[in-house]
Symmetry: C2
Subunit: 205 residues, 2 copies
DNA sequence: GGCAAAGCATAGCAATGCTATGTATCGTGG
DNA sequence: CCACGATACATAGCATTGCTATGCTTTGCC
């Protein structure tokens, strides 16, 4: 009953936009379609305008973040894994700084909330694992501790990636997370070792 | 030897830009000077372009933040004062959300670092006061704890102001700061009371 | 008092996102 | 099988953006 739209065009434009974001080329309506053979109208057909492109980029960013967090293994030390989740979060933000800015700084849409929830859920699961392993007190609400860890990590990486703090300031993440996990009941010395282990591969770079 | 420029025009434009930012009107070259009688060229004479206007707005934001932090009194409970500094920081960000975004999300210039340093310095002083009062261990570096508190507060208010967290999530600031200050050596129960006292007037609103 | 340097006003430029209009193309109902 | 209608697509154009070029005006020093 009508001309069908080609899904390949949509993914092509999203991937191209992601590449341009990484290359720090300005993403404009015309520069996005330049050289691809598709016309400017395709952006309106498939995304409804440039806002739709940015929204798609945000979802792409959350997908990539979720994939990154999924690579964090579950070891015998759940607090270490929790710290590793935080480290993966920071590394993802530092590897895709402009995408990270697009995700949080630009207009955060309500439709993005679902994708952000996935991120949070992984943290909640990590806290629950640590609680089940007896590392945290029984009365700590996993969601609360997860939100607090998220806020701490997000603030740190924001101040480093697009703010005034130098990259070495990332090291503050260790005492930050340690303080949080200790406040949840973990043994201070043991917690410190766990967090440092989870952050081991982030700090040198 | 030349026509002198009128400083009043500069402050007029800055104040007008600040008003437009609060009113959420888009700040464009032409909308900024519309109705003021000054021509578009004045923006280039006094700011060198729109980038200069945004830079001036950032400095204005830091000035306002510093003024806000200066209103926090120094009581007999330095940990309470420290928490009150954090509360004032958050309240300032929530009262001027767009200005706050302009300060951190947009291109943070190296010239803004000085203004940001002032903010940090106030935190450092607060930590030093608490340390001198014996609330913190001797071996805590005031700068480190200040940076960590800053990151936690910044992350929390960012996720609330322009992110996915609801406003009630601000309450997480209390356990966050408490965890940090306890990790610095403060007594847990006493610290909790101090932080809650410092945040008292932030949480209801 | 005249001259040079700077402020200022107007007009115009390229680039932006978006829309209007016409054409091509596909899926479906008869 | 084919014609119709809906939708994708292409081109051109619009208003707006930041910025610059070009004169004109004003101001202050020799």
């Amino acid at each position: 009953m009508a001309k069908a739209r080609d899904p390949a065009i949509r993914t092509l434009l999203i991937e191209r936009a992601g590449r341009m974001l990484r290359t720090r080329e300005p993403i404009t309506l015309r520069s996005l379609v330049a050289g691809t053979g598709v016309s400017t109208m395709a952006v309106y057909t498939y995304f409804g305008g440039m806002d739709g492109v940015w929204k798609a980029l945000r979802q792409e960013g959350f997908t990539r973040l979720a994939a990154r967090l999924a690579t964090v293994p579950e070891t015998a030390d759940p607090v270490r894994d929790l710290a590793a989740l935080g480290a993966a979060y920071l590394r993802n933000a530092l590897d895709n700084p402009d995408l990270y800015r697009a995700m949080f700084d630009a207009g955060f849409d309500l439709e993005d909330a679902g994708a952000a929830d996935d991120t949070l859920h992984r943290l909640v699961r990590g806290v629950e694992r640590a609680a089940e392993a007896g590392r945290f007190r029984r009365d700590v609400a996993p969601l609360d501790l997860a939100v607090q860890s998220w806020a701490a990590g997000h603030g740190l990486v924001s101040l480093v990636a697009t703010g005034p703090l130098p990259r070495e300031a990332l090291a503050h993440g260790v005492p930050l997370l340690t303080a949080l996990f200790v406040s949840a009941g973990d043994d201070p010395a043991r917690c410190r070792r766990s967090v440092e282990a989870g952050w081991a591969d982030l700090l040198p770079g």
